[in-house]
């Protein structure tokens, strides 16, 4: 087997272009910047932002006081539960090391977040059999919807640390949801509540044209994408 890093970029099959009737135009004269990183590491249509971490926010950045913040899991659960800042810190800690992908086309590689696995919260709240979707709510009123399966199985976290330091407020500090295998708008900043639901309903960006699931490897950016 050839190590991926030795395969020239040109031999990596490109994702088939989306169909819209006519032929896909090649941009005259465009070659693009030198491909960075390992081929295949960045999902289609994304680029490696390197050390930068751009922000995307639709609202005024709030200033949360940790002592006044709480985290609730409710809806279709047997044991609706609310944790304080101190409570979540007393739960077994969990760390994510890997990549994140924003729908605005940047990906950031090899980042570390620390907090608690959403599994830990769900184990306490105990979802009912009918629960299939989750609405994540922020203190600001921001919402985003996710399939429950995308929050289970060591795939999602409630995080308050970035690279070993407190999460900066512009990136959702003091605490945010982290669902790194989906586009980053699903990782709601200033998370305060996970509401388990039987059927899906669109959150904030989803009502405004963005995809209900948001898998970066399938380029599920907007409503109507596969």
């Amino acid at each position: 087997m050839i190590p991926a890093a030795t395969i020239p970029a040109a031999t990596i099959p490109a994702a088939p272009p989306r169909r819209y009737g006519g032929p896909v135009p090649i941009t005259r004269g465009f070659t693009g910047r030198p491909r960075r990183g390992r081929p295949g590491r960045v999902p289609p249509g994304q680029y490696d932002t390197g050390a930068d971490w751009p922000t995307l926010t639709a609202e005024v950045t709030p200033h949360l006081v940790p002592d006044e913040w709480t985290m609730t899991v409710d809806g279709l659960v047997d044991n609706p539960y609310t944790w304080t800042w101190r409570d979540v810190h007393a739960l077994p800690g969990s760390t994510y090391f890997g990549d994140i992908h924003c729908v605005t086309t940047w990906s950031k590689l090899d980042v570390t977040f620390g907090g608690v696995s959403v599994d830990t919260l769900l184990d306490i709240a105990h979802p009912r059999p009918g629960a299939a979707f989750v609405m994540a709510h922020s203190t600001t009123g921001y919402t985003t919807n996710l399939p429950l399966d995308d929050l289970r199985g060591d795939k999602a976290w409630i995080v308050w640390e970035y690279d070993g330091r407190p999460l900066p407020v512009e990136h959702g500090g003091p605490v945010r949801l982290l669902v790194p295998h989906l586009y980053f708008w699903k990782s709601a900043k200033w998370i305060t509540r996970l509401e388990l639901m039987e059927s899906d309903r669109p959150g904030f960006w989803e009502q405004n044209g963005y995809h209900d699931r948001g898998d970066p490897w399938l380029e599920q950016r907007y409503q109507g994408d596969p």
Partner: protein, 237 residues
């Protein structure tokens, strides 16, 4: 009820193509006017994704706010050439009339104005672009009294659409040079207050640092947080 929970509705368009019909540029900005196939008319404030495609299939795409009025037969984008900008640099240096680009849009149902609500807008640098669309729209439908714009730039030469903004009655604050009698400075609270009076909603567009400054100023001017809509951009536009 928070602003974020407010019902929004806006047109959404899928992937299509646009042919570059007209363009002009200076050393930093390029204005593109495109003929869009099967166009879905946008609302002022919405954006498009523009995608470049290399021979072997590599693509790069970025989002750009629309500057044109929905009734304009062409779609107008104003792009700032960023240092090392893969897409903006190509558009600025290489694009020429006749080129065909992949476009997707309009997109976004939050940062839009239907032309029926009194609003105040604060834009920094290329953050003025969606407000140019709103002003053009207001003028066409006779809704100029509903929109007030504060445009902030370093100098008259580098502020996009500076002349058009001034002619449309926007308040322009230049931070690095004097403008008529006004000494170079960011907008002051007492300059913003008359613009804010009577507005039911505020729109802020600009860099992360600018958006943070502008939302704080709006708060000091008495605008509730829930009435402020923000569109901010980092390196990605």
């Amino acid at each position: 009820m928070t602003g974020l929970a407010e019902e929004t509705r806006a047109p959404i368009g899928g992937w299509t193509t646009g042919t570059l019909v007209e363009m002009d540029r200076d050393d930093r900005l390029v204005r593109l006017r495109l003929d869009v196939a099967n166009r879905v008319d946008h609302l002022p404030g919405q954006h498009y994704v523009l995608r470049l495609r290399a021979e072997e299939g590599y693509t790069a795409s970025r989002s750009y706010s629309v500057a044109s009025d929905p009734a304009d037969p062409l779609l107008e984008l104003m792009v700032e050439c960023l240092p090392g900008g893969e897409v903006s640099g190509f558009l600025h240096d290489e694009a020429r009339p006749g080129d065909v680009f992949e476009l997707r849009g309009p997109i976004g149902g939050w940062f839009v104005w239907h032309g029926d609500t009194p609003i105040v807008c604060i834009g920094g640098g290329t953050g003025v672009v969606p407000f140019v669309s709103m002003l053009r729209h207001a003028r066409r439908i006779g809704a100029e009294r509903l929109i007030r714009v504060c445009a902030v730039g370093r100098s008259r030469a580098v502020l996009p659409y500076a002349d058009e903004l001034l002619a449309a009655g926007a308040f322009v604050a230049l931070t690095r040079e004097n403008l008529d009698g006004r000494v170079a400075a960011p907008p002051y609270l007492d300059e913003l207050e008359p613009l804010v009076a009577g507005a039911e909603r505020a729109y802020v567009c600009g860099s992360v640092g600018f958006a943070s400054y502008a939302t704080r100023l709006l708060g000091e001017a008495g605008v509730p947080t829930a009435a402020i809509r923000v569109e901010q951009f980092g390196e990605t536009g």
